[in-house]
Symmetry: C2
Subunit: 245 residues, 2 copies
DNA sequence: GGGGAGAGATGCCGC
DNA sequence: GCGGCATTTCTCCCC
């Protein structure tokens, strides 16, 4: 274990990315307090001083420290510890190592960013550039607008000159989406002195929950079933392979 | 690289936890589509067949596959790939390996669960058992109650027999907390035919945002500044160590 | 399984 | 830094 600990110390100083498989205990003190009893875990310390503690299963880390955390190995009569402190966020972690299975490391280069398609923003873009998806005569004049009455996905007018406020959801629209739409329209009506009858509210989403539909009808809003766009090439399920980019 | 790939294949079959440091490209197709250009990453495949792709920095994985995903190494004229498929969730990932820096592995034993204190539930428990924290004469009669008018944190009566509905927030209370409280009270008043004037709404949180405070005053509710409890022993910042549990 | 709500949510952007 | 909001949110619990 001492060789491993020496190696970890050295790697932490070099600011390498370090992976440790270990049997350990973990204490955390910050917004909450937590204690993780002795057991097998994988610890990753990244080059930006992020620390992740992963259980043998599950997607999310069971404990973590955010970027720019200080990490120090401390050996004393009670055992061998990794003590971590984030002064800015005022949180602390302490890991007691009982056994170390392996230590791996490498200096990774900063990576490129991910390109994602099919988000809510892509949906509002799609509607903005293809207004017929809502209805004939719909004229959008802004999207993703931060106004003093809130953040509106798509904003425009219909064939009869009525104001149209559209709230997009990439998946199910629930009652929260309706109250979000209602809040925008309420503030809009109040601040501009427009009669409520000249504003239409539309939820654009693939589907809507029963509760949300009820709430929507109460407010006199409309639902338009629209799927989020996927610009990237499709996975070819016959060939079981992904496509050239 | 071929040795590494052979090792990964073997380890995937043995269902070990595998850590790979690699220069790679990643495609994902599921609820969204994404493409991650060539760069350095750390890949973790867990024993429950979870796959994580981590950038050299940041807390969250940039791509992931959930539990029970199938993973297969595929070598063809286009290169060496890890192809992953989750039939249940209908999502797919493809990783093209350009270089492999290291491969590590170990068979970890399932770990114990974490113990957390300082959550919203702990807060409602604390208020339930220490009602004077709200005010003298407050008598709670339920907590964390799922009712047909919603999920109420603490429910009780005050010294004058008025009904008290308390919504707890472990951190800042924002306008959503107020509308949540309003929704409960509105439904309660409607379903029980109680006059609105005989129900008091209280937000219990360490702090409240300006917007939320305005909204709270409009509805005639009250704010009580309360911190979430932390039962576990405190981190001693002088001694820089944690304590016996 | 859907629905409602919390989370050490995280992360992004705008003011 | 706060605010408002999306997220392959995740997770839990109830109906």
């Amino acid at each position: 274990m001492n060789e491993y600990i020496g190696r970890v110390k050295e790697l932490l100083e070099k600011k390498n990315l370090v992976v440790i498989a270990t049997e350990c205990e973990v204490w955390y003190h910050g917004k909450v307090e937590s204690y993780l009893p002795q057991g097998d875990r994988v610890i990753v310390i990244k080059q930006d001083r992020v620390l992740l503690v992963h259980q043998p299963s599950g997607v999310n880390p069971i404990n973590y420290m955010k970027e720019n955390t200080e990490h120090n190995i401390v050996e004393n009569s009670e055992g061998i510890f990794l003590k971590s402190k984030n002064t800015l966020l005022k949180d602390y972690m302490e890991i007691k190592f009982h056994r170390i299975y392996f230590v791996s490391s490498f200096l990774l280069e900063d990576s490129k960013d991910i390109i994602v398609s099919g988000s809510e923003k892509d949906m509002s873009d799609m509607i903005y550039y293809n207004p017929y998806l809502i209805e004939d005569g719909f004229k959008p004049f802004s999207r993703e607008e931060h106004t003093r009455f809130g953040f509106i996905d798509v904003f425009g007018t219909d064939a009869n000159g009525k104001i149209v406020v559209i709230e997009c959801k990439r998946d199910f629209a629930d009652f929260k989406a309706i109250s979000q739409l209602h809040r925008y329209i309420h503030k809009l009506v109040k601040s501009k002195g427009i009669p409520e009858s000249s504003v239409r509210g539309i939820i654009a989403a693939p589907r809507i929950s029963d509760n949300a539909l009820m709430m929507l009808k109460e407010y006199g809003y409309e639902f338009k079933s629209i799927n989020p766009p996927k610009y990237l090439e499709k996975y070819d399920s016959n060939q079981k392979r992904l496509f050239e980019y």
